[in-house]
């Protein structure tokens, strides 16, 4: 269990603002952060102890920039820019508010090298959970064909998918992993058709990342194909076929940041959430009857990654 975090100033309320590129309930990237923040709020003792405000669907970069500046000037203690595309704006705004903390993900850039000291950076080693999912997928697949539905071929999505492919191939080298990208984060219908394509091509296990995969999960459910999720829990959509989800739990990062803030440090540290630091964890669907040997292999892989014996 995590240690009690130290609130910045015991009496004062911590004021947190977050800017997210999609909706707080997208079952994916934005939801992962929102959820972590809500849990942090509970952990710190509710709205009286931590105020939380958010701007969702801020996919327009310069709108986000305006929001970041506005929150900062309203005196929020920390402004979290939860989207890699916001980096440029942060770099510009942060120097104007030296006593406000900023956090930015997913990226590794804190701009410390540029003399900016109040930006935290965080990213997720999503390839780790991807690798674990890949191992399970390979073992679960009877047809030895696996389908992957991606949005655009970059960033977190690509990282996850690369990890997944590596895990699958390491387990069964002759396995076929079919990947297609829909070119969109929102086209649910195309994601569904991408899934259909995988099924036609013989896939009996599928994965995917980003918010449009709800379409693909629907197909998986209908065609009774197994699904492995990432970013947030997707089990509720199809309890019959979701095997497990890699969950991003940003609380690890948030706790440390809040602690440092209490100590008067407003940035300069970069975090990577991993299986080892529990910022990533695998959530197994209890309703899914996962064969024991697969579960064992998964646990073994997780351990291996944590130990460093397996490089995803």
């Amino acid at each position: 269990a995590p240690a009690q975090p130290e609130a910045p100033a015991a009496s004062e309320k911590l004021r947190v603002a977050v800017i997210m590129p999609s909706a707080i309930n997208d079952l994916a990237f934005s939801q992962s952060m929102y959820q972590s923040l809500v849990e942090m709020q509970a952990e710190l003792g509710g709205p009286d102890k931590m105020e939380l405000v958010y701007s969702e669907n801020m996919f327009v970069v310069d709108d986000a920039a305006a929001a970041i500046r506005d929150y900062a000037s309203q005196g929020y203690d920390i402004v979290i820019a939860h989207g890699s595309q916001y980096g440029s704006s942060l770099r510009e705004i942060a120097p104007d508010f030296p006593t406000t903390a900023f956090a930015h993900g997913t990226t590794a850039a804190t701009f410390v090298d540029e003399g900016i000291t109040n930006v935290f950076a965080y990213e997720a080693a999503s390839n780790e959970g991807g690798y674990v999912n890949g191992v399970m997928a390979a073992l679960l697949s009877q047809s030895n064909v696996i389908g992957v539905v991606g949005p655009i071929e970059t960033g977190d999505a690509k990282l996850y998918i690369d990890g997944f492919v590596a895990g699958a191939k390491a387990t069964k080298p002759d396995l076929t992993v079919n990947v297609n990208y829909t070119g969109s984060f929102s086209d649910v219908a195309l994601a569904a058709e991408a899934a259909n394509t995988h099924v036609s091509a013989g896939a009996d296990v599928m994965v995917g990342t980003a918010q449009m995969v709800v379409g693909a999960i629907g197909v998986a459910k209908e065609k009774n194909v197994l699904w492995l999720g990432t970013q947030a829990s997707q089990t509720s959509l199809a309890p019959e076929i979701v095997v497990a989800n890699q969950i991003y739990d940003w609380k690890v990062v948030l706790r440390d940041i809040f602690k440092l803030m209490g100590e008067g440090t407003y940035g300069g540290k970069a975090y990577i959430v991993t299986l080892a630091n529990k910022g990533l964890y695998m959530e197994f669907n209890p309703a899914f009857d996962l064969p024991a040997d697969v579960k064992a292999k998964a646990d073994e892989t997780i351990q291996g990654i944590i130990n460093g014996t397996i490089k995803p």
Partner: protein
């Protein structure tokens, strides 16, 4: 690798998913065709689809009855259509902008309702696949054509029906006349406003059904902005089809099949970047139109409000 393309699996896959992808376009584009043939450009299709998709989904979720969901979508589509009709016919608003207004309204409203009434992404059991007895067991064609859900069949049925209504009925005659020369139709006692109200409202209904075909038949989920630009493509397809139902059918199928083709190309490791694969349906639609260029002329009165100033 190239030969893989000609395997039965791939061909069947392309055709079957092409047909599914084409379904929402067909509803929205045929509805839009009626509106445009009578002289009204509705750029708000996307908004109507989203509202239809949400309503159908939510009512189905609440009642467990897809038919009620569909009916509710029809109702909401009719309301959105009526509003569009009122604004463009009675208030004579510039149709291009008012359409964008309805798009924004539908985009925001469907999401707002989604957040307030549901809060999270859920699933329903929508219209299931209906296997047409005997036909569905035919090899190849069985899977492509005869194992789809009800709304897919209806979409394809809509095409000949629309053709028939436009070309063989007195209503169709009025619609065509009103879109070409409303003054002339008016002098013969045809109610230009009445016809346009009808077609634009109908367009709203069909767009909403198109949305419902996603949320309670094909995908069985609702997510904000789930149509993601589909409504605008649907409007473009009306132009592609030269304002004719069968032309629209051709356009919708072409666009959708190429879209599923590109998904296959990615799977079969055709060495082009995924972005270029995704581009293909858009590029090909334009190219086909260039190659098959005809002197199709749109309805002469398209976007022109009718005024009898006196």
């Amino acid at each position: 690798m190239i030969t893989d393309f000609f395997s039965a699996t791939v061909l069947i896959g392309i055709l079957a998913s092409g047909i599914r992808l084409a379904t929402p376009y067909l509803y929205a584009s045929i509805g839009e065709t009626f509106g445009q043939r009578s002289g009204v450009l509705n750029l708000g299709v996307e908004g109507q689809m989203l509202m239809g998709a949400f309503t159908a989904f939510y009512i189905t979720l609440r009642t467990g009855n897809v038919w009620l969901g569909l009916l509710a979508a029809i109702g909401v589509g009719a309301l959105m259509g009526l509003a569009m009709a009122f604004v463009s016919i009675h208030l004579r608003a510039v149709q291009g902008i008012s359409g964008i207004g309805f798009y924004l309204f539908g985009l925001g409203m469907s999401d707002l309702l989604f957040q307030k009434l549901m809060g999270e992404v859920k699933t329903v059991s929508g219209f299931g696949a209906i296997e047409i007895p005997f036909l569905s067991s035919l090899p190849v064609v069985g899977e492509i054509f005869f194992r789809q859900n009800l709304l897919v069949y209806l979409a394809f049925l809509l095409v000949p029906v629309a053709w028939f209504v436009l070309n063989k009925t007195t209503l169709g005659l009025k619609i065509r006349a009103v879109g070409e020369n409303p003054q002339a139709a008016d002098t013969l006692g045809v109610s230009v406003a009445g016809i346009r109200y009808l077609t634009v409202t109908m367009g709203g209904v069909f767009s909403a059904i198109g949305g419902a075909s996603l949320s309670i038949a094909n995908l069985n989920v609702f997510q904000q902005n789930m149509t993601s630009g589909l409504g605008f493509i649907a409007v473009a397809l009306v132009y592609f089809g030269g304002w004719k139902p069968f032309g629209v059918l051709f356009g919708a199928l072409l666009f959708s099949m190429v879209n599923s083709l590109q998904l296959w190309m990615q799977i079969l490791n055709v060495p082009i970047p995924s972005d270029f694969a995704v581009m293909m349906p858009y590029v090909l639609t334009i190219i086909v139109l260039v190659l098959t260029v005809g002197r199709v002329r749109g309805p002469s009165a398209l976007t022109k409000p009718f005024i009898r100033e006196g």
